[in-house]
């Protein structure tokens, strides 16, 4: 018992002595002396840092189109057994990839995706439903073309702002330019036909009168070898611009641009 008490006393004495030494050392240390600083290396500056998150932006003026990947039957409703309204080919009469302007979408009872597309058929302005799988990836445009057949004026807007205006010639009274909502289907250049000027755009609009025209009577937007007839009502339904104007339009208007003719 006495032995154990002696050990406890010895430990307490040693602890007290150690504390006294520590206090003495601390008190003796200079208060303003140089303190060695040990710092970690600064992080390596990154080569770039992304800015703030980028919002979706204004989608009011966007239109969506997609290439037609496989022939499809457009139907009245988004159902495989709904009545057929048109057949959609993968190529245009000019040999370019056919495209579809997408104006709606839905799912059927089997949860398959369908898209509603603007049809390049008569009557003009028709729409129909095709399986989503019939078309490829979506592309968007923020341009819109307005053709005023009364005032013989064409206006191109981007995101709602006017970026181009030109005078036009439109269909003669016997072969009028159809009115309604259409879209630009393709763009042709370097062909040997002066009457179409240097650039021609194909549209989804079809002449209601020239139904037996080769390739279906599609209405184009193109230049001309008769600039003296612009503006005027002289064409077979096509929208003609002076060649300088069609070249300017071609630099601003992408394929897929929606068109309103009124």
């Amino acid at each position: 018992m006495a032995r154990r008490r002696r050990r406890v006393v010895a430990i307490a004495a040693a602890a007290t002595a150690a504390a006294a030494v520590a206090i003495a050392v601390t008190a003796a240390a200079p208060s303003h002396g140089p303190v060695p600083r040990r710092t970690l290396p600064a992080p390596l500056a990154p080569a770039f840092t992304p800015g703030a998150p980028v919002g979706l932006g204004d989608t009011r003026f966007l239109s969506r189109w997609a290439p037609v990947r496989r022939p499809a039957i457009a139907r009245q409703d988004p159902q495989p057994d709904a009545p057929a309204v048109a057949r959609i080919a993968t190529r245009t009469p000019e040999g370019t990839r056919n495209i579809a302007l997408v104006v709606g979408r839905a799912q059927d009872a089997q949860r398959r995706a369908w898209v509603r597309v603007s049809l390049a058929t008569l009557p003009n302005g028709s729409t129909g439903w095709i399986p989503r799988a019939a078309i490829g990836g979506y592309e968007t445009v923020d341009t819109a073309l307005d053709v005023d057949v009364e005032r013989l004026r064409l206006t191109l807007r981007r995101s709602g702002h006017v970026i181009f205006r030109a005078r036009v010639a439109v269909g003669a009274p016997a072969t009028p330019t159809p009115r309604g909502r259409f879209y630009v289907r393709n763009r042709l250049t370097r062909y040997r036909s002066a009457m179409y000027g240097p650039v021609a755009f194909g549209t989804s609009a079809r002449s209601p009168t020239l139904t037996d025209w080769p390739a279906g009577g599609f209405v184009g937007i193109h230049g001309t070898d008769r600039p003296d007839l612009v503006p005027g009502r002289v064409s077979h339904g096509c929208i003609r611009l002076r060649n300088a104007d069609i070249l300017l339009l071609a630099r601003r208007m992408p394929v897929g641009t929606p068109i309103v003719v009124h």
């Binding site: 992080p43 390596l44 990154p46 080569a47 770039f48 840092t49 992304p50 800015g51 703030a52 998150p53 980028v54 919002g55 979706l56 989608t59 966007l62 969506r64 290439p67 009469p93 000019e94 040999g95 370019t96 990839r97 495209i99 979408r105 799912q107 949860r111 398959r112 995706a113 989503r132 799988a133 490829g136 990836g137 979506y138 968007t140 289907r185 393709n186 763009r187 042709l188 250049t189 370097r190 062909y191 040997r192 036909s193 009457m195 179409y196 021609a200 194909g202 002449s207 025209w213 080769p214 390739a215 009577g217 599609f218 209405v219 184009g220 193109h222 064409s235 077979h236 339904g237 096509c238």
Partner: protein, 231 residues
């Protein structure tokens, strides 16, 4: 949080990712569907390739691949937002999807700026029905975010410029948060294992290529084709 792991079969309804990964491993599609757990050994093992292919790449090449992949993701989210797919989701999923979209667009913007004239042109994307519905969108997003983490984990250490490495680490950690968030959204463990095995750029490129999400540009213009319009 449940221990449920999203399998490729559950996530990849169109089969694009499954086909791609099954092709890499040489397994049958059915076999892959049975065994592949997203983020698990089977899927990530499928992405593994010898590192030699990455070692040949320049920093510009790596950044351009990063740009392509960021564009893929940004377009996927942006289209879903523009089409209205995201608007059909519950509020918390909308926040998730919109946030990821805004981040991916910011990534595209900065990488494009850094590359300047060296930036590759924007590819054409075809997601099919993958971003048309809430269900398809969510499942594909989970797979894409995991793939992005695997890609950045593989390429970040092999870039030559250390400051570029530092920048890619910044992207990697954010993409890892995206992946974890996406997994949380589908009820899977945000962090299923203690270590992520890095993958080579080549293997991720192969997986992406086989999804067919990057498509050929449609030929909508022609020269020397005579117009057949009414005139």
């Amino acid at each position: 949080m449940t221990d449920w792991q999203p399998t490729l079969g559950a996530i990849d309804r169109d089969g694009a990712l499954t086909e791609a990964l099954a092709e890499i491993t040489g397994e049958t599609r059915a076999g892959f569907l049975r065994g592949a757990v997203l983020g698990g050994a089977a899927m990530l093992g499928a992405l593994a390739r010898p590192p030699a292919a990455s070692a040949r790449l320049t920093d510009v090449g790596i950044l351009n691949f990063g740009l392509r992949f960021e564009r893929l993701q940004a377009t996927f989210y942006t289209q879903a937002d523009q089409m209205g797919t995201i608007k059909t989701m519950p509020a918390r999923k909308q926040v998730w999807a919109e946030t990821l979209g805004s981040h991916e667009r910011a990534h595209v913007r900065i990488i494009k700026k850094v590359l300047g004239r060296e930036a590759e042109p924007r590819p054409t994307f075809d997601f099919g029905a993958a971003n048309e519905t809430d269900e398809n969108f969510t499942r594909t997003a989970v797979a894409m975010e995991d793939l992005t983490v695997a890609l950045l984990g593989g390429v970040t250490p092999v870039v030559n410029d250390r400051r570029l490495t530092a920048a890619l680490f910044g992207l990697l950690t954010v993409e890892a948060r995206h992946a974890a968030w996406a997994r949380h959204i589908v009820g899977a463990s945000p962090s299923p294992k203690p270590f992520d095995t890095p993958r080579t750029l080549d293997s991720v490129a192969g997986a992406v290529r086989r999804t067919h999400f990057i498509a050929a540009r449609p030929n909508v213009s022609a020269s020397r084709h005579a117009p057949r319009y009414t005139g």
